[in-house]
Amino acid sequence: MENFSNKVLEIIKQKAIKPRPKLYFWARDFVLWFLVVLSTFLGGLAFSLIILFAKFQQVGLSYPRPLGKLNWLLASIPYAWLIIFFLLISFIYFNLKHFRKSYKYPAYLLILTSLFGSVIIGFITVGFDGHRQINEEFSRRVPFYGPVFDARLNSWDRPNNGALAGKVESMGNSGFVLNDLHGHEWQIIFNNENNSSEKTREVKIGQKVIINGWPVESGVFLAEEVLPWEGCRGPCHLTCPSCSSPNKPKIELR
């Protein structure tokens, strides 16, 4: 065996093999930590946006839907953010597995750790309203963000299912004119009766809103509930003080 060890030492000398410096391993460990922290942070942001859309869609879910709530629910799930969230969790788990002592822990514990970190950061982001700002920034700066990531665009573009969204173009006596997400005009007949006097704000020209209601006829929509597009903390129904209460047409559910 002494010959063997001399042979190996000879190869080490001939090929000028040297031990890798400590810095190499510190750099490797640092990169691993950095990737875990970064993915946890990004996972947290993704989670906060899932919460944003979930809270937002709650507003629509509690409202009766002519075509059924399941139909509306399936349209309102933020699939893209869910996929990104789970991809990031998988990435965190994959990197955690490469830590020196990770093998001592069962896989489910590593996965829970990955989830826990992102969920905590997600709730913190929601706490200071960061998720709303992030969503607005992405909507402004990222091409195709809306159609792919903004779950509201799909679910609130369903007037036949009692969900409409768009921008207020002008105000009238009985309501306002809305330019929907496709640029079509709607006459919105405002029903003030259902809005509580507490914590209501006035709808404004140029404001983006979502509306729960009923399609009366082509181009006419009865608004039972009007809310700001960006959502808000707590109840925040929009009302139109200058509108007179119309006679509510009778519409039957099928």
Binding site: M1, E2, F4, S5, N6, K7, V8, L9, I11, I12, K13, I17, K18, P19, R20, P21, K22, Y24, F25, R100, Y103, K104, Y105, P106
Partner: protein, 191 residues
Amino acid sequence: MLQNPEDYSSKTDNELVSLTLGNQVFFAILMNRYSEKLARYVRRISNLSPEEIEDVLQDVFIKVYKNLNDFDQDLKFSSWIYRITHNQVISHHRAKSARPQMVEIDEALANRLRAEIDLNSEMASKDLQSKVSILLASLKPIHREVLVLRFFEEKSYEEISDILKKPNGSVATLIHSAKKELKEKYGKFQQ
């Protein structure tokens, strides 16, 4: 070359690692300490030819030398070098797509395994050695590995966990399944 290598034989593995980082000549003591053990271990989990075993061990020690600064002092050096050897054997198998026909064991080891797994004690020792050897070779690689580490290399559960990079619980489960598989195959073998 070291003048008096015997003076360093009482040094611990960790001390020798530190000395090697200062002077590669000390690496020879570590190699002498581990080369036979590792050669036996490689033979038991793979049954490669002596030349192939030497090639594998050469790669192992060169890898160990290159990564000495990555050695975690909280770990036993033997667990670390066994881990590198285990990984190197897997790489070698992948390259050659080889599977062992027999695993080399001696009579004492065959009897130890028989006692552990409660095989038929009436079987003649001569038969037992070759049968156990063939049976071991027929096991799933991971089952063969844990049995070799536990009963032939006499590693603790903690050491096996460090070598195979699996939680302690998984090691216990693997040993249990390995014994079960060995018993089942022994039963079929007898038929």
